[in-house]
């Protein structure tokens, strides 16, 4: 008998044994009998008319099984890749939604746009044959930046999308904001760029598809964060395969960060092709291929204005953003810079009026969609940066201006002027905790020590909130979601009392196999080792929306908790019969059903046994078996947040920014496993630090070539870039999720870019620097310092 390991404990992870010993089961590890190899041929041009493809030489090449193009897709009458959100402009006019064919038809719109799929006996043969394709392109000028794309005369991606504007979206009370600005004692202004990022999970995307003629069933193995959603989007909307004839499996997946939560054209093409050639086909992306096909993130250009009264109280906030969508609308694309951005602009502050306008813009770049944080890091960055700008301009301390405007703990639930209502929080508590943990009171001494070495030291704050636990379906539906965002779980109790959970979320690093087992162990009193979590297979798991938006514990965990409650309810009925007592008198505690006030008990195992061997069982009123399912649709978002404090040292000789200290105190609600939460915070913070200091997806204008298309050009954070971080939690409980959880997957990435850049600006403020765009690379900082009148460093 093992032990119950419940909520708040930190057992080592169940998933680690297989990963540590090389026994993980990733898509690229899978082989199927008779499997062929597929490679995608991608556009080398950012923008071109696709006049035609001559595939005769490729078809004749050694080992080639098939060559498929957009013409074949059209001939088979297949659908376009769907967008899961339909947003509207201020007048209610729907966004422009041009088709996104799975293989390009008539035109290519970004470098990496797929034009053909070559299937051969081996990858080498497929690659050789791909080079024999004669593709006739008429190259057009590309436009890659949002400012250029909306400019009159810019290259037009779609004939019916004037000025490349997909949607001119707005939120908030424009006239209330204008009134407040007229009364303001001070207006702070800031123009900024939120740099374009590439998620780069360490496992490149991959897929295997197989068709079984005997049963007319398809199986797709895919590196996906949401296999059921892929089954629905691809089966129902693209390939028109009935849902019961399509199985989607996402086995071990090597990181996602949003990049793997979309329905990609590669999935549809390979599944369709497997049926045509009647063989399993495997495709594994190279890292370079991932750079030009994995959906990118962020890429905003923003003008923000904050109105304040003479005491530094915020009166109104006005934000105008141009958001890059890339060449087509990806699965969640238009939702990210709108619904996940505007509603977060109140932050942790009492902000009486907000107006946000976002122009969602097509360009000749990889489609842009959710990347860890998705909209919320962008909102946090705008707000937390302009708060610092206002503080500096008004001569108010940066911590003090935050305190003056923070929502006090007692004021929750707090309704913001931009749709969302925060249920709980304590930003002041997080701030106080972080100030102490970061040893801010001795910062002056550390700054002086840096100064003696000729370095500039800076401190940066970010006090922030996010909305996660996506999402209340009714609310999301009003915002344009075309699907529901609930979650489901099945708790299957075996005759011997062990438990298998089938859950619709997907584990790709978050430790669900451990955390969810703790929930079951806690609720049912079953030993931790006697609980297994099954996910990622539409044939084994009833349904699910997958993992993204810090939703797995919040929404999936809640479904699991509900299903476990149903098991207890049924167990009580069985126990009442066996113990010859009234159902209302049966109590369940620590794995035992007992009659209140007596010593008559039945163990959980005995009840499970009776459910499957129903000799003495109330068969007239109760079905045999002990397996329960629950769906959970949240009533609100959850609102994790916190305070991050970054400390940097800038070397004026080289422009190098070194992150020397990092402190985070976050409110993530109830913590199920503190070890896993800390790991999520560490990883999230470093992805935000990557955005602030290192990472940047850069395109060449005109040609549309991605200049940062490899790990050698796109700088990912490495172990020696980072200090030991201090992370802690200061939790208030979510008032509407069953366990009080808020989610922790994205907080690190949302809070950290603003903290780091605020620290960099602080370090350079004595030189008149008021803003630094991300990433704060040595080159950018060195140039900034050359332009500033750099005084000689004090000795």
């Amino acid at each position: 008998m093992g032990n119950v390991i419940g909520i708040g404990a930190a057992p080592k992870r169940k998933e680690d044994q297989r990963f540590l010993t090389g026994r993980g089961n990733y898509v690229s590890d899978i082989k199927r009998p008779g499997m062929a190899a597929g490679v995608f041929v991608r556009s080398p041009h950012g923008h071109a008319i696709l006049r035609g493809i001559d595939k005769s030489a490729a078809l004749a090449a050694s080992g080639v099984v098939a060559v498929l193009t957009g013409d074949d897709v059209a001939a088979d009458g297949l659908g376009s890749l769907p967008c899961g959100w339909g947003i509207t402009d201020a007048k209610g006019v729907p966004m422009k939604e041009p088709p996104f064919p799975m293989l390009a038809q008539g035109k290519v719109r970004f470098v990496g746009d797929m034009v053909a799929f070559v299937v051969a006996e081996t990858v080498e043969q497929a690659n050789s044959a791909a080079e024999l394709l004669k593709i006739d392109y008429e190259v057009l000028p590309s436009v890659v930046g949002v400012l250029d794309a909306v400019h009159p005369g810019a290259p037009q991606l779609f004939d019916d999308v004037p000025n490349n504007i997909c949607c001119d979206w707005e939120l908030g009370d424009k006239s209330a904001v204008e009134t407040a600005f007229r009364k303001a004692a001070h207006v702070a202004k800031l123009s900024l760029v939120n740099n374009r990022l590439i998620g780069n999970p360490m496992e490149p995307r991959a897929a295997i598809a197989e068709y079984e003629p005997g049963t007319d069933r398809y199986t797709l193995w895919s590196t996906s964060q949401f296999p059921h959603v892929v089954r629905f989007l691809m089966g129902a909307l693209v390939l028109k395969i009935p849902q019961h004839k399509l199985r989607v499996v996402a086995p071990d997946v090597g990181g996602g960060f949003g990049v793997k939560q979309f329905h990609y054209g590669e999935e549809a093409v390979i599944t369709w092709a497997a049926r045509r050639v009647m063989r399993p086909i495997k495709w594994v992306a190279s890292r370079s291929e991932g750079y030009v096909s994995d959906r990118h993130g962020r890429d905003h250009v923003t003008e923000a204005e904050l109105a304040l009264d003479e005491t530094g109280k915020f009166l109104a906030f006005r934000v105008k953003t141009l958001a890059n969508m890339g060449g087509y609308l990806s699965t969640f694309g238009p939702n990210i810079p709108t619904n996940l951005y505007g509603p977060l602009l109140s932050g942790v502050y009492t902000m009486p009026a907000i107006y946000c306008n976002v122009k969602v813009v097509f360009t000749n770049t990889v489609p842009v969609d959710a990347y860890r944080g998705a909209g919320r890091p962008e909102a946090t960055f705008v707000l937390e940066r302009i708060v610092d700008v206002a503080a500096a301009e008004m001569g108010i301390d940066r911590v003090e201006i935050r305190r003056r405007n923070m929502i006090p703990k007692e004021a929750y639930p707090y309704q913001t002027p931009v749709l969302v209502q925060y249920d709980s929080g304590d930003p002041m508590g997080c701030l106080d905790g972080a100030l102490a943990a970061a040893d801010v009171k001795n910062f002056g001494a550390r700054k002086a020590a840096s100064q003696r070495k000729g370095k500039f030291r800076g401190l940066g704050y970010s006090t922030y909130v996010e909305a996660c636990g996506l999402a209340p379906s009714r609310f999301a539906g009003r915002l344009g979601a075309r699907g529901g965002l609930y979650e489901s779980a099945t708790v299957r109790v075996h005759p011997t009392g062990q438990v298998t959970v089938m859950i619709g979320t997907h584990n790709h690093g978050q430790g669900h196999e451990t955390t969810f087992a703790q929930i079951v162990s806690d609720k049912l009193g079953v030993a931790f080792e006697n609980v297994d979590i099954v996910f990622g297979d539409t044939d084994r798991v009833q349904f699910g929306m997958g993992t993204y938006g810090s939703r797995s514990l919040v929404v999936g965990g809640a479904a699991l908790s509900k299903a476990a409650d149903k098991v207890i309810v049924k167990g009580k009925k069985i126990a009442a019969h066996l113990l010859e007592a009234a159902e209302v008198d049966i109590q369940f505690e620590a794995g035992k059903f007992s009659v209140a006030g007596t010593d008559r008990t039945k163990t959980f195992e005995e009840i499970a046994g009776a459910a499957y061997v129903p000799h003495d069982y109330p068969l007239e009123v109760l079905e045999p078996g002990l397996e329960e399912q629950a769906y959970y649709d949240p009533v609100n978002f959850t609102y994790p947040g916190g305070c991050h404090i970054a400390e940097v040292e800038v070397d004026p000789e080289t422009g190098t920014v070194t992150l020397v200290n990092y402190t985070a105190v976050d409110d993530v609600g109830t913590v199920i496993n503190p070890m896993i939460v800390e790991g999520q915070l560490h990883g999230g913070i470093v992805q935000g630090v990557g955005q602030a200091l290192y990472e940047n997806a850069v395109y060449d204008d005109g040609s549309g070539q991605l200049l940062s298309g490899s790990l050698m050009d796109y700088c990912m954070p490495r172990a020696d870039h980072l200090p030991m971080m201090k992370v802690a939690t200061h939790s208030t409980l979510c008032t509407h999720t069953p366990m009080g959880v808020k989610g922790c997957g994205e907080v690190g990435t949302i809070g950290s870019p603003a903290a780091v850049i605020n620290a960099v600006v602080d370090a350079l403020s004595h030189l008149g620097v008021t803003h630094v765009d991300m990433p704060a690379t040595p080159n950018r900082i060195w140039r900034l310092l050359q332009n500033a009148s750099l005084p000689v460093a004090a000795e």
């Binding site: 680690d16 790991g679 913070i685 990912m716 980072l722």
Partner: protein
């Protein structure tokens, strides 16, 4: 061409195309998928194995170079390939939550074992520098660094005990 080498302690002879990379040989021909391929520019380190005791990126090594050599992969690290025991470094990663999605983990562990070998202790700075060739996107490295320091101490304690 035919090559013979010692793979995880066992004599192995295979026919390979001369242009085959060691990572491909392991994964495609020998069905040993513990060694991962995360990039195409020798940057990520998911494919690190030990060649004659030294860590190498197997995505950048041609199979013919194995002839006569000794190769150790993640599958052979903990002893016999049929055991499910953990090497002290693997145990340290488990204890310190030094992995999340697991994809970079085999390469990270192989690099760490090589780093810790014959070193009585490793400083944080040495570990961070030593991991420069291995990228992890999940952990922010903090728990990996702690894992490697703990694993190095455990390896040395075990070596002294022998």
């Amino acid at each position: 061409m035919q090559i013979s080498f010692t793979l995880n302690g066992r004599p192995t002879t295979v026919d390979v195309e001369p242009a085959t990379l060691v990572a491909e040989l392991l994964r495609e021909q020998l069905n040993m998928t513990g060694t991962h391929i995360g990039c195409d520019t020798s940057q990520c380190g998911a494919c690190v194995v030990h060649l004659d005791g030294l860590p190498v990126k197997s995505c950048t090594l041609l199979a013919p170079a194995l002839d006569g050599a000794t190769l150790l992969t993640i599958e052979g690290l903990q002893g016999a390939p049929d055991s499910n025991r953990l090497h002290p470094m693997q145990e340290a990663f488990r204890e310190n939550h030094g992995l999340q999605c697991g994809f970079c983990t085999p390469g990270m562990v192989m690099t760490a074992v090589a780093l810790a070998k014959d070193k009585p202790s490793l400083s944080e700075a040495e570990v961070r520098h030593g991991l420069e060739g291995n990228i992890c996107r999940c952990t922010g490295y903090q728990n990996i660094v702690l894992s490697v320091m703990a694993g190095a101490a455990a390896m040395n304690a075990a070596a002294k005990g022998e």
